[in-house]
């Protein structure tokens, strides 16, 4: 299950989708909107995405995770649009026979999602706003100089 949606995220269907009979562990990560960043008070976040490519890149992250860790399955949900403080923007669930792989694989998956999945967030403060520049995705043969 890999989705980009404007609706509030529900972990239950995601956990059910990744669970297998051989799974002794499911690690579930919540990315949650917090009220400050770099000392500035955040009022809310606005997420934008290239949805088709985002889902494709989520699947590629899952392929990487399966190649590195002995997992049963994994899934990713990312919400876009306006999110208030305390709302969940990202859910990553990883199932595996044993807990160590679930924890490690989930951590790795979250890091990679932030590096290559085309999703952006704008912080909105009382006195302004800014699209946050996170990671420049790896490009094959990377030579983008201006």
């Amino acid at each position: 299950m890999f989705e980009v949606t404007r609706d509030p995220l529900d972990p239950a269907p995601l956990v059910a989708a990744v669970r297998r009979d051989e799974s002794g562990a499911i690690a579930l990560f919540y990315g949650v909107v917090r009220n400050e960043n770099l000392g500035r008070r955040v009022q809310y976040l606005e997420y934008d995405a290239y949805p088709e490519m985002a889902v494709k890149k989520m699947n590629e992250v899952a392929d990487e995770v399966r190649a590195k860790f002995a997992i049963s399955d994994m899934g990713v949900l990312h919400r876009i649009g306006r999110l208030e403080i305390g709302e969940t923007s990202l859910l990553v669930a990883v199932s595996s026979p044993h807990r160590a792989e679930a924890f490690e694989a989930c951590h790795y998956a979250v890091d990679r999602i932030k590096q290559i999945v085309p999703i952006w967030k704008k912080e909105v403060w009382e006195d302004g706003s800014e699209w946050i520049e996170g990671y420049v995705p790896d490009v094959p043969g990377r030579t983008l100089s201006s």
Binding site: M53, V110, Y135, P137, T143, L144
Partner: protein, 103 residues
């Protein structure tokens, strides 16, 4: 489609040189700077992603501060600056990504 603007840049006045038209999708700060989610750009046959970036900067000077840090994707895959564009390609301009709830 009526909201799309067309730029005949890099094409001679007679329109006799072969050209490619690409659909360019914009996101985040670039979408806001340009004021629309997509533009159509006409390029000389054989033009690269780097040339497309230059054309966007010329057509929309407000984007020039943002363009040096973007990468591009064609048909939903990241490509480098030397990638040659074909007629009908869907090109996405990808600013540094920042999914999740914190950087």
């Amino acid at each position: 489609m009526s909201s799309l603007r067309r730029y005949n840049v890099g094409v001679d006045a007679n329109g006799s040189a072969p050209t490619n038209t690409v659909r360019v999708r914009l996101f985040a700060g670039l979408r806001e700077a340009v004021g629309q989610p997509e533009i159509l750009v006409v390029l000389p046959d054989g033009a690269t992603v780097a040339e497309l970036r230059d054309r966007i900067g010329e057509a929309y000077p407000v984007t020039q501060a943002l363009l040096p840090i973007v990468v591009f994707a064609v048909d939903e895959e990241y490509v480098d600056a030397d990638h040659r564009l074909r007629d009908g390609d869907e090109v996405a301009v990808i600013p540094p990504v920042s999914g999740g709830a914190r950087v």
